[in-house]
């Protein structure tokens, strides 16, 4: 278990130093690359299909209301090469995601970082 955690952390460090354009699939126009947004919430769904994996979260705001958030990741092909499977995140998992927010202001981001409940990162597959 500890070895696996170390392996995931090592992958995350590698991703930070070797990166492929985040928007290599379809351009930058939808996302504001000058900002970073971070939300913490509960996974409600993971759509692990091409062209982009979609992650859905329920996020509680300061008032305690549930906001629905969407995170767009890279292709499942890249994520699998970074160690993901279709069940790496399951409904009920508590995670923190960070990334570039949409320009429209919707509860949506392009995910560059995923932290699990215990703080260990999941490689967001952007080095592959």
């Amino acid at each position: 278990m500890k070895t696996r955690t170390l392996a995931i952390a090592a992958l995350a460090v590698r991703f930070l130093t070797i990166s492929v354009p985040l928007f290599a699939h379809h351009g930058t126009a939808s996302y504001d690359t000058s900002k970073t947004v971070t939300v913490k919430g509960t996974v409600t769904d993971l759509q692990f299909t091409n062209p982009h994996v979609l992650l859905f979260l329920d996020v509680k705001d300061d008032k305690g209301n549930v906001q629905k958030w969407q995170g767009e990741l890279t292709s499942p092909n890249h994520l699998e090469r970074a160690g993901w499977t279709r069940t790496s995140l399951k409904p009920g998992d508590q995670i923190t995601i960070s990334g570039f927010p949409t320009k429209s202001g919707a509860n949506s981001m392009f995910v560059s970082k995923v932290l699990q409940a215990d703080g260990t990162p999941l490689n967001a597959g952007l080095g592959n």
Partner: protein, 263 residues
């Protein structure tokens, strides 16, 4: 004359003799560099992934996967007008996914050399008489004929062009013509015509590194050749996976909705 015939038969026998070894080699995914497909031909086999320059900043990373060459290409008036009318999703003229008219988002083939810009790996498979490039991106294929043939005299224009290759020492020199004019040269909207002529010089500069020097000419579109170099990293543990462009279509329809679907 008799000597030439003898050499041809010997060459053919040698090529056939190595074929079972070569296929076994590919299936085992062992160190591709050590087993050439013939006594003379360098080995470019393997699964390769485009590798941007180390320590590149984000704008340079994006440029590496958007277009070719460091500077804006020298365009003819036709190309300038066509470029202005394009609505790409990358580059200085980029628009949103809802507004783009880039043909790849309708799943038309990306063409050559644009296919190198789509960030999925490619597998090079060498068999006697041809080098095959299998691209993970929408399972595009290029057959580069190395059997000494010339381009056909009356070429039907195709999306990915007609490629012939010859070896110069350790370098595979690929000549591609016969393109239709339905693809974009790159992802930022630069056009090309059916006179596009692409020359690639491909060689293995290290066991795990492929260098591709591109020379792009198109007298209808550009007044000077466009040159560019791309590097590819060998990934011995990777397989080419499925990637179907039509998945984009349903995905993009979803993106138009602001609401997150209830599940």
């Amino acid at each position: 004359m008799r000597n030439r015939l003898t050499y041809s038969i010997l060459g053919l026998l040698l090529a056939l003799a190595f074929t079972p070894l070569m296929f076994g080699q590919t299936a085992e995914k062992s160190d591709a560099a050590k087993t050439p497909t013939s006594t003379a031909e360098p080995n470019l086999s393997g699964v390769w992934n485009a590798r941007p320059p180390a320590n590149a900043k984000l704008p340079d990373l994006i440029a590496y996967f958007s277009s070719f060459g460091k500077a804006e290409p020298a365009m003819t008036p036709w190309a300038e007008a066509t470029y202005k009318a394009a609505k790409p999703s990358f580059g200085p003229n980029s628009v949103t996914m809802e507004e783009t008219n880039d043909p790849v988002y309708k799943c038309f083939p990306p063409g050559v050399p644009r296919v190198y810009l789509h960030p999925f790996p490619l597998q090079i498979i060498q068999i006697p008489g041809q080098v095959v490039m299998l691209f993970e991106y929408d399972h595009m294929v290029r057959h580069i004929f190395t059997d000494g043939r010339e381009h056909p005299k009356d070429l039907d224009p195709t999306w990915m062009g007609n490629s012939i290759g010859r070896w110069e020492g350790d370098t595979l020199v690929v000549d591609t013509i016969g393109f239709n004019d339905k693809t974009w040269l790159d992802r930022v909207g630069h056009p090309h015509s059916d006179q596009l002529h692409v020359v690639e010089r491909i060689r293995r500069t290290a066991q795990d590194t492929l260098q591709v020097d591109l020379n792009i000419e198109d007298p209808k579109a550009y007044t000077k050749p466009i040159t560019s170099t791309m590097y590819f990293q060998l990934n011995p543990k990777w397989d080419i996976m499925e990637q179907v462009c039509m998945d984009n279509v349903s995905f993009l329809n979803f993106e138009k909705n602001e609401d997150v679907p209830a599940k």
